[in-house]
Symmetry: C2
């Protein structure tokens, strides 16, 4: 077979990002040297610098890579859901899955090294994070407006959601007493079981078009 390594281009770079992410996730950004990263890639430091501009750019690329993974594995899969509560529930489930499945060290680096980048790079990543926060806030607001949940302050609700979910990386052990599924189910219930208004039943999937009868403002014109 061809096995073509020739123009691996991005392919090679991606394995470097993943290798570096593994190390940085274990030892922290400042605690990991370019020497060590190079060695883990079975290269010398100078060899690594052929692919990488500098250390900070490497961190930025790791975070961007993690952000891509997050958006495609979580955000993009729940954005379309009509019912805001179901949207939030699914979102929590997927986000917990992302954080507990060990395959995404890049995401954990985004969470832990939240103040390591500076300048434009920091601002760029922060704006992508902010985008997620706004998505959650809007979903909570919409759920309140539709009477699906009782009144809550959307910002606090969003950050509570995030705290529960993103703190997991600090304590969860994949081979521990609790499975990821258990955590996921319990946590979703914990936040939403006491939040949903008993009077209004969950909107079945089929009733999506019913929502379009409600005045447009309620559906959610997002800026």
């Amino acid at each position: 077979m061809n096995s073509g390594r020739r123009q691996d281009d991005g392919e090679r770079y991606r394995t470097i990002l993943e290798t570096a992410a593994r190390l940085i996730c274990e030892r922290g950004y400042e605690g990991t040297s370019m020497q060590e990263i190079a060695a883990a890639c079975r290269m010398t430091k100078a060899g690594l610098y052929h692919h990488v501009q500098n250390k900070e750019q490497l961190l930025f690329d790791i975070m961007s890579y993690g952000m891509d993974a997050f958006e495609q594995q979580v955000l993009d899969r729940v954005r379309h859901l009509e019912d805001p509560v179901e949207r939030l529930r699914q979102c929590m489930r997927l986000n917990i899955h992302l954080v507990t499945g060990g395959c995404s060290k890049e995401v954990i680096i985004i969470l832990h090294e939240h103040a390591t980048l500076t300048g434009e790079a920091r601002a760029f990543i922060d704006s992508r994070k902010k985008n997620y926060v706004r998505f959650l806030e809007d979903s909570f607001s919409e759920a309140v407006r539709l009477g699906r949940i009782r009144t809550v302050q959307p910002t606090v609700a969003a950050f509570s959601f995030l705290g529960m979910v993103l703190w997991i990386y600090k304590w969860f052990q994949p081979d521990g007493r609790l499975s990821a599924e258990q955590v996921s189910n319990e946590m979703v219930e914990l936040l939403f079981a006491g939040l949903v208004t008993p009077g209004v039943a969950a909107v079945p999937a089929a009733s999506a078009q019913m929502l379009s009868i409600v005045p447009p403002a309620a559906v959610g014109e997002k800026p």
Copy 2:
């Protein structure tokens, strides 16, 4: 002039810990050099090493100092509360107050540098943390047993509690749109309003001793 201070003993060391904590909180443990810490204490590095054994011991002492502050400002003030729900509510309130009030950088270092220490020092701090987790688990368990809240998995409940509260250091701004009070009130409601069993009223403060008379099962095996 005398310029006082002679035998401050522990006093001097404590100001060093606080100064070091401020810097490490801003730049991270690995990102802060002993040189910088010494300069912030208006000393040379050699002078600093007269007070400090080594860098890791310094971090350990900062964390221990933070743990003392936490236990005395949070744990010790709620341990005695009879009603487990009121205990958890108060605990959340005090813990949020500790994390939002900027006076305790040491606590934030404990949160952020959760994997920096190694060996015995790491194990020692971890056991003090674990103690808090167990306290929360036990309180949730007791609340369920008494029928004060609906059934939840105590470990997940405890870590959700912690996630909500401890994630705050990543996003809260003291001079931002939301006040610490608002966050506190909203967050307590968010977790407990949907958790408490409507059938069983909150135990008034005076009836604490009543609980020890009534057989546990009778207080609240919910319908």
